[in-house]
Amino acid sequence: MDVRDGLLYTDEHEWLRVEGDTGTMGITAYAADELGDVVFVELPAIGRALQRAETLGVVESVKAVSDLFAPADGEVIEVNEALVGKPELLNSDPYGEGWIARVRLANPAAAAEGLKDAAAYRALIGA
């Protein structure tokens, strides 16, 4: 199962890439595989203030509905509008074209707190 080095991971199978004060988030390949074919994504509003673990959106596969959770505190500055027409990007490229949202991190220095590195996430999913 594809787990990328250099990303941070949540126990809810989401990833966070921190670049300066910006965090980009998505769901992991493991999550995409567990969901199956993703057919619908509900994205958060730009400008919305988020607190870690708060529900920010929804991903639906043919069979399942799954909430998305904020991986860090911050404000939504960009969402991946391509997912509206092509939700299957979450399956085909979960770490790339299937990114979900960019957040201006409230506390970039502390973003890693409470999140897992790639090795710990691999251990979580038994990869």
């Binding site: 199956g36 074919d37 057919v39 619908f40 509900e42 639906e60 596969s61 043919v62 509905v65």
Partner: protein, 371 residues
């Protein structure tokens, strides 16, 4: 949890297994959308061995079933089948069924997996006093289906049954890949296709033979996930969703199965006659979502244009099944709504999380195969 004879085959094919109606069954192999498209465009192979096969035999087998069910099995010609239901005395649906007439005094009733024991018990009780005996062959029978536009071409060289002469809702005994089989032209996908009943231990070989024979045409194994999206597009009810003990056949738009004119009394007649005269209080409709979101089982339905917040409004109905339609590319659903909201073209709303999303009532089925 029960397993079909094919469980190890599903494992070796990498299926994701789930519990369904007390059985460990494959929900998907490669992916639901891919499997769904394979059945619409080519062919797919299904393990349906969890279904119940109840054989009713005896000099009054037909009369006994006419008493127990809503349809009139004695009217079936040998080698033909029809869709039927068994109802409680109050008219609530206990299960929907297919009844096959195998011989003048031999019928096979195929019940849903989760209901088969209840149906067997009800049939036994209702057949008391008739010259008829019930044999529950569910755990001796494997059921392997091949469905899709190429199903007949793939099956023809494998069987001595004359498929060209086997009409829709017909059944014939013969052989498939050397196995003694009952071959029926029935299915739950909206496509042409066949269901093959064989001995329990022969199911895996039949499944393998179908997959191998169909491989050049892109035939794939299909799990219960795509089976559900296929039947929903075809507008077919699923017991537990569209049909329950709290629905009558009239509610579901399936009043045609109730044969009031048949000879003799049948269980549920009085209640169903009253229900027909009263007129239905709810109607099963097809919905296409016109906004963003997927209307799923259990979501509330409201009249269109409502101002009240989702948590305050009183729903007029409930979604019974819903999914993103792989064929149509839009979210589709079935729902129960009041009859005055059931006309095609009516705009209603479904509460999807904290939003009211517009949906349009459409005629069922959503998908009809090209003829």
């Amino acid at each position: 949890m029960r397993a079909t004879a094919l469980l190890e085959r599903h494992r070796s094919l990498g299926a994701r297994l789930v519990e369904f109606a007390g059985w460990e069954m494959p929900v998907q192999y490669g992916g639901i959308v891919e499997e769904h498209r394979a059945v619409r465009q080519r062919a797919g192979v299904f393990d349906l061995s969890h279904m119940g096969e109840l054989h009713v035999q005896g000099g009054q087998a037909g009369e006994a079933l006419a008493h127990a069910l809503l349809t009139d099995p004695p009217a079936l010609a040998v080698g033909r089948a029809h869709y039927s239901m068994i109802c409680a005395p109050d008219g609530g649906v206990i299960d929907d069924l297919i009844v096959y007439r195998l011989a003048p005094d031999h019928f096979m009733v195929v019940a849903n997996a989760g209901n088969a024991p209840v149906v067997a018990d009800e049939l036994r009780a209702r057949m008391a006093g008739f010259d008829a005996a019930l044999d529950d062959a569910s755990l001796r029978t494997s059921l392997v289906a091949i469905q899709g536009p190429l199903a007949a071409a793939i099956l023809t060289p494998l069987t001595d049954v004359d498929l060209a002469a086997l009409r829709y809702y017909a059944i014939a005994p013969g052989h498939v890949a050397g196995h003694a089989a009952l071959v029926a032209r029935t299915g739950y996908t909206g496509e042409d296709g066949f269901e093959c009943f064989v001995a329990w231990d022969e199911g895996t070989d039949l499944f393998d033979v179908f997959l191998e024979a169909g491989a050049p045409q892109g035939t794939v194994p299909v799990g219960l996930g795509a089976r559900d999206t296929l039947r929903l597009e075809a507008g077919m009810p699923l017991y537990g969703n569209e049909l329950t003990r709290d629905t009558t056949p009239f509610d579901a738009g399936l009043g045609r199965v109730v044969k009031f004119a048949k000879a003799g009394e049948f269980v549920g007649r009085e209640a169903l006659q009253a229900a027909q005269e009263r007129g239905r209080s709810k109607a099963l409709v097809g919905l296409v979502v016109r906004g963003r979101g997927i209307a799923r089982h259990g979501y509330p339905v409201h009249r269109g244009g409502g101002e009240a917040a989702v948590e305050e409004a009183v729903p007029i109905g409930t979604v019974t099944s819903g999914t993103q339609s792989p064929t149509l590319g839009v979210p589709i659903a079935m729902a129960y709504v009041p009859p005055d909201a059931a006309d095609a073209g009516t705009i209603l709303e479904v509460a999807i999380r904290d939003a009211r999303v517009p949906v349009e009532v459409v005629a069922l089925p959503f998908y009809r195969r090209p003829s």
